[in-house]
């Protein structure tokens, strides 16, 4: 069959088309190469130029359909990479640090798993992430909420994905969390350590970014009515560590975790029986069983505040209990103010 005559649909390109060579590189709806002449300075005709660049590309891709052997090459590369990974894991050939942080598992498996939750489900936005230093120790102090400590996970993902240095926040967790089967080892592999002065000081001495939630279980286990109201800040141990190691404190306000698991009641009897610090009753849990463990899709906003330097205090400042309490209170106030501001700034909790 002879080629049909090209019908020029744009008078203005009539003269230019032959000189500027070329037919359009787009594809017609029928899947054939477009025969219209390309607009000057572009590879596409007027029709295809208006289309979304992503959808008009197929003809280009089709023109370079790879031979089967070529097609296999990149796939085999991926496969080799995955196989290497699996082989390392299966033969135990992977390094961990003294605290049990498994960098490979974290970057290749755990963080990618958090990604959809962070980006699509909670639609997390961050403010002031550039205030976290590119290297060297810093203590992130955040509010704790939401029954299940997802906030710690989201802070870790936020810094690992959005901060210029892709740092891994080493959160310190309560022993009650670390002793849980499956959760405990997983938490350690993800970079968590024990919430005690020794671990915090050691991680900071190694130049790590340490995340601490001084409210502890009082924060995650508080009721819906107390949302975004900071609980007491433990015994101020984190201040002592920061003073001793002269590490700056970065206040972190996390908005969104409260609505993910709104705790409407605390089944204290069950908690005591099971040995848990609290037993949450949310609108969906335990009503819907395991399905009730699915968090509600709240919208999150995480703000990293201005770093508070700790090196202006005398060397024995950590021994001064009044100073420690004062500092803890002022940091608590800072975070509380950030929370009030950001709850309003975030807008509606879900949509």
């Amino acid at each position: 069959m002879a080629d049909a005559e090209v019908i020029r649909i744009d008078e203005r390109t009539r003269g230019a088309a032959p000189r500027d060579l070329a037919a359009c590189r787009g594809t017609t709806a029928a899947g054939r190469p477009c025969r219209n002449p390309a607009v000057a300075g572009s590879d596409y005709c007027r029709v295809h130029l208006r289309e979304d660049p992503r959808t008009r590309h197929p003809s280009q891709a089709r023109s370079s359909v790879p031979k089967p052997s070529e097609a296999l090459a990149p796939a085999t590369d991926d496969l080799t990479r995955i196989l290497d990974f699996l082989k390392r894991r299966l033969s135990g050939d992977y390094p961990i640090d003294d605290f049990g942080y498994d960098a490979e598992l974290s970057r290749e498996v755990l963080l990618p798993l958090v990604k959809p939750l962070y980006e699509r489900y909670f639609r997390v936005r961050t403010l002031g992430i550039e205030r976290i230093p590119a290297e060297g120790p810093a203590l992130l102090v955040g509010n704790h909420s939401g029954t299940i400590p997802l906030d710690a996970v989201m802070v870790q993902y936020a810094v690992a994905s959005e901060h210029a240095s892709r740092r891994i926040v080493r959160n310190i967790a309560a022993d009650l969390a670390l002793k849980l089967p499956l959760i405990g080892p997983l938490a350690r592999k993800a970079g968590n350590a024990l919430a005690c002065e020794e671990d915090a000081a050691e991680l900071l001495a190694r130049g790590e970014l340490v995340g601490v939630f001084p409210e502890g279980f009082k924060g995650v286990g508080k009721g819906w009515r107390e949302r975004y109201r900071l609980q007491r800040f433990g015994r101020g141990g984190f201040i002592e560590v920061a003073l001793r190691t002269k590490t700056p404190i970065i206040p972190v306000a996390i908005v969104g975790a409260e609505e993910a698991y709104p705790m409407i009641a605390n089944a204290k009897f069950l908690a005591q029986t099971l040995g848990f610090p609290y037993f949450p009753v949310t609108p969906t849990f335990p009503l819907l069983g395991p399905l009730g463990l699915l968090p509600l899709p709240s919208r999150w906003l995480i703000e990293f505040g201005e770093p508070i330097p700790m090196d202006d205090y005398p060397d024995d400042a950590a021994e001064d209990s009044m100073l420690v309490f004062d500092l803890a209170d002022s940091i608590r106030d800072t975070i509380q103010q950030m929370l009030f501001k950001n709850v309003a700034a975030r807008g509606p909790a879900f949509f």
Partner: protein, 350 residues
């Protein structure tokens, strides 16, 4: 310790693998003049030049041995974690606690004793989710729930510290050794990791830190011949997860529900496979990792084998059949690639 004379050293527990190897190493040391080995059991191999005295450290007779031999250095390795060696837990406790008390009581009277090295264990830290990730020497007093071997070690350490207070002129060294493995060492950990299928607790993957037997022997003898005094953690660098360690050894993990772990351990003991002390079961739940920096700084001791190197050495020398064979993973990988290759060939033909 000062003095130009050759040292006279007494080593307890030469009937065990650690004691006899420490004795052999000390005998080879240029400054050691005479070497006396004490135990109820014969040494596993004879050391040329070592005087072996069959004696029970639990009996007051040990004072006569010290008096007769006029030793200046005592290396006490006879604190054991293996009940079967003594014919039961109560005899084991008797040996560990009363034996150490008697030995040190005798040493307190013996003016010629100038140096005492006691082999304790990191078991004194217990094992639990609330212990720091890296346990330093000062942490020991804070642990209250101890039983079995850990309690024995803590009690023996108390005797040793009392002795140190009463005889401040004596250089006292307490070495808290981490779980030892090695090609020849016979410890609960080495037997546990030698099982063809290694039982673990489902849902738990503790960090494992190990000490190579050669490093344990070297630490004991260097502490005996050096000038430092104090309490030191002795362990290999770095940690490995238990699951990873089992895979490094080319073995298969058998995760059991935690409540059945006790039963499994009892069964393993009944059939004489592994004498994993009941009180050490928590180790496979939570592990225990110690900070070794004080030993490096004060004692000048750093272990040659990292935890990983311990496992690799163990695999090479303990299980030659495993090491010689192509690993399972390599053969799986080859099969998979062969399969894909065939697939791609037939794909391009179509």
């Amino acid at each position: 310790m000062a003095g130009d004379e050759k040292r006279r050293v007494l080593v307890t527990g030469v009937g065990g693998w650690l004691g006899v190897r420490v004795a052999a190493r000390l005998k080879a040391h240029a400054d050691v003049g005479s070497l006396i080995g004490v135990d109820l059991d014969d040494p596993p191999f004879t050391i040329k030049g070592m005087e072996f005295i069959r004696a029970d450290i639990r009996s007051p007779l040990i004072a006569r041995v010290l008096g007769a031999t006029k030793v200046d250095t005592i290396v006490h390795t006879n604190i054991s974690s293996s009940p079967s060696r003594f014919g039961g837990r109560s005899q084991m406790k008797e040996n560990n606690v009363i034996g150490t008390m008697q030995l040190l009581a005798a040493a307190q009277r013996a003016d010629h004793v100038k140096k005492v090295v006691v082999k304790s264990s990191t078991a004194v830290y217990g094992s639990g989710p609330a212990e720091p990730s890296l346990i330093a020497e000062d942490h020991a007093g804070r642990v209250t729930e101890l039983s079995g071997y850990g309690k024995d070690c803590a009690d023996a350490e108390t005797s040793a510290r009392d002795f140190g207070r009463r005889r401040p002129d004596v250089e006292l060294v307490i070495l808290r050794t981490q779980n030892v493995i090695g090609p020849r060492a016979s410890t609960s950990m080495s037997r546990y990791l030698s099982l063809p299928v290694v039982p673990t607790a489902l849902g738990y993957d503790p960090r494992l830190q190990l000490l190579h037997e050669d490093d344990a022997v070297r630490a004991m003898s260097e502490a005996a011949m050096g000038d430092a005094r104090g309490i030191f953690n002795i362990a290999g660098e770095g940690v490995v997860y238990l699951g990873g360690a089992i895979r490094l050894l080319g073995k298969v993990e058998l995760p059991l529900l935690a409540p059945t772990a006790q039963l499994t351990s009892d069964l393993l003991r009944r059939f004489d496979l592994v004498d994993f002390p009941r009180d050490q079961l928590r180790l496979v739940l939570f592990g225990r990792v110690v900070d070794t920096r004080r030993a490096a700084k004060v004692l000048g001791f750093t272990s040659e084998f990292s935890t990983r190197a311990c496992l690799e050495d163990f695999r090479r020398n303990r299980a030659p059949d495993e090491a010689g064979r192509t690993s399972r993973h390599e053969s799986w990988e080859r099969e998979l690639f062969d399969y894909l290759h065939r697939k791609s060939m037939s794909g391009s033909a179509v």
